[in-house]
Every structure is written in C-alpha cells, then in structure tokens.
C-alpha cells in the first residue's frame, strides 16, 4: 500500500481518496432523494382533509431543541476530525461520543414530537399532509438512527486500533454523513416547521 504522507491520513492512499470521493457521489444521490421528499411535501402540504394543519400540531420548543442539538453535534464531529488531524486520539473519541449523545438527544425530541402529533390526532393515515410529513421527518430520523449505530461502531474501532489510515478514513466519511444530516435538517427546520408556523 502506497501511503502519501503529504496528505492528511484519511486521504493518504488511493483507496482512501476514492472512498471519500465515492461517498460524496452518494451524498449527491441523497440530495436528490430528499429533493423528491421536499417536492412531495410542498405539493401535499395544503391537502389536510379533515386533519390538522401544520401550525396546529407544530411546537416551537422541541423543534428549536432538535435544531440546537443537531447543529452542535455537527460542530463537535468537525472538532473530532480536527483532533484526529492533530493526532489527539482521546479528544477525538470524546468529541465522537459527545456527537452521538447530542444525536440521541435530537432523536429523543423527535420521537416525543411524533408521539404528540399522534396524540393530537395526526397519524400517518390522517391526510396527505400528515403522510408526507411523517415520511419526510421519518426518512431523516432513520438516517440519524443509522448514524448512531455507525458512529458507535467507529468509536469501538478507534479504541481498538487507534488512529491509522483506515480508521481515519472511516471517521472522516462518517463526519461527512453527519454534516449532511445537519444540512437536511436545516431545510426541514426552515421549510417544514418555520414556514408551517409563519
């Protein structure tokens, strides 16, 4: 394996570089996936039938908490990658753990939100609006849930093997995924929640 020491560890082999490029292409496809969900949401948002409209079920406090949790977690995973690049393994793992805890906090609030919606009579079957609302939020929430498992596995590998060109590459790709989830949330926060309550 040819290791290029002029590059950060996560890019140091050809395989690593291609893994990162490949993941960016995957994220391009993810943008399109969420694009179709947003398109459906904007088309169906006023089709509320006998069910509630967005402004009746959305609550600002949990939504702000979710936003702050996810925004901060995106910052801490960025710090984890920075710690990785300066070779601080302990700090890196700490930032990784903080990131996943914040992710859990986000998910907790989102699950609470879902319970409240159903409690107020907005289930996935109530109207076209609630169906696409649950589908869009659920797709994002499922990504976060998957990320929690993925991140935990990477932490165990970091503890076991330390920072090397393989774990650095995996951690960096995970950070891309996590930042991407934050980007998607920004759009959900703006165009589903804030627009719905405007």
């Amino acid at each position: 394996m040819k290791i290029n020491h002029s590059q950060p560890l996560e890019y140091s082999t050809e395989h690593n570089r291609f893994s990162i490029l490949g993941f960016w292409i995957f994220l391009g496809a993810e943008i399109m996936l969420f694009g179709t969900l947003f398109a459906s949401y904007f088309v169906l948002v006023d089709h509320t039938g006998n069910g509630p409209v967005g402004a009746e079920i959305f609550e600002i406090t949990p939504i702000l908490m979710e936003t702050i949790f996810l925004l901060t977690s995106s910052f801490t995973i960025g710090l984890a990658i920075h710690a990785m690049r300066v070779g601080k393994q302990k700090a890196m793992i700490t930032f990784f753990i903080i990131t996943l805890l914040l992710g859990m906090g986000f998910l907790g609030y989102e699950i609470y939100d879902f319970f409240m919606y159903v409690h107020e009579g907005a289930t996935i079957q109530t109207s076209a609006f609630t169906a696409i609302l649950f589908l869009t939020l659920g797709t994002h929430g499922a990504h976060v849930t998957f990320g929690l498992f993925w991140g935990s596995v990477i932490i165990t590998q970091l503890i076991k093997h330390g920072i090397n060109y393989e774990t650095a590459n995996k951690s960096f790709i995970f950070s891309l995924y996590w930042h991407f989830l934050d980007v998607v949330w920004i759009f959900i926060f703006s165009f589903v929640f804030l627009k719905g309550m405007m």
Partner: protein, 94 residues
C-alpha cells in the same frame, strides 16, 4: 486545549447559530409571506454552504472539481424536482 478548537470551525458554528436565530424571526415577528420566505431561503442555503465548505472540507484535495460537480448535479436535480413539481402541481392551479 486551545488547539482543539480551530478558529475557522468555531466561527462557522457561531455563524450557523446566528443564521438559525435570523431564520427563527419569521416565527416570532409578523411578516408577509414573501419576506418570510426570502429570509428562510437565504438563511437555509447560506447555512448549507457553511457546512459544505467549513465543516465538510469540500475543496481541500485534488478531487475538489469532482466533489463540487457531483454535489451541484444532485442539487440541480433536487431543485428542478421541487420547483418543477410546484409549477405543474400547485402554481398552475391558482
């Protein structure tokens, strides 16, 4: 401790918080649909760009071109899908 908090990323985080605060004003203040939508569009896309450049290090290797090409390709398809659907299925009926 200080070396663990690079200035660029801390500034990026503070900037995202400010953009979030600006976006939230559409909820707390009464404003027209046009003004509110414009604020949300600007804050959301600027914040996405901050993530892309500051946190995701999109432009730091020789693959910069390929990374931006595939990202913008995805973005363009997504925007065409969203605005095409709005145009044919919502706005056409007003």
């Amino acid at each position: 401790m200080k070396e663990l908090f690079p200035r660029k990323q801390v500034m990026g985080f503070v900037f995202s918080l400010i953009l979030t605060a600006v976006a939230v004003t559409v909820y707390f203040f009464d404003m027209s649909f046009e003004v509110g939508s414009t604020i949300l569009l600007v804050t959301a896309f600027v914040q996405a760009a901050v993530q892309l450049v500051v946190f995701m290090h999109a432009g730091e290797t020789g693959d910069k071109k390929a990374i931006y090409t595939s990202t913008f390709y995805g973005l363009i398809i997504a925007l065409v899908t969203v605005f095409g659907s709005l145009l044919t299925l919502v706005w056409a009926y007003y």
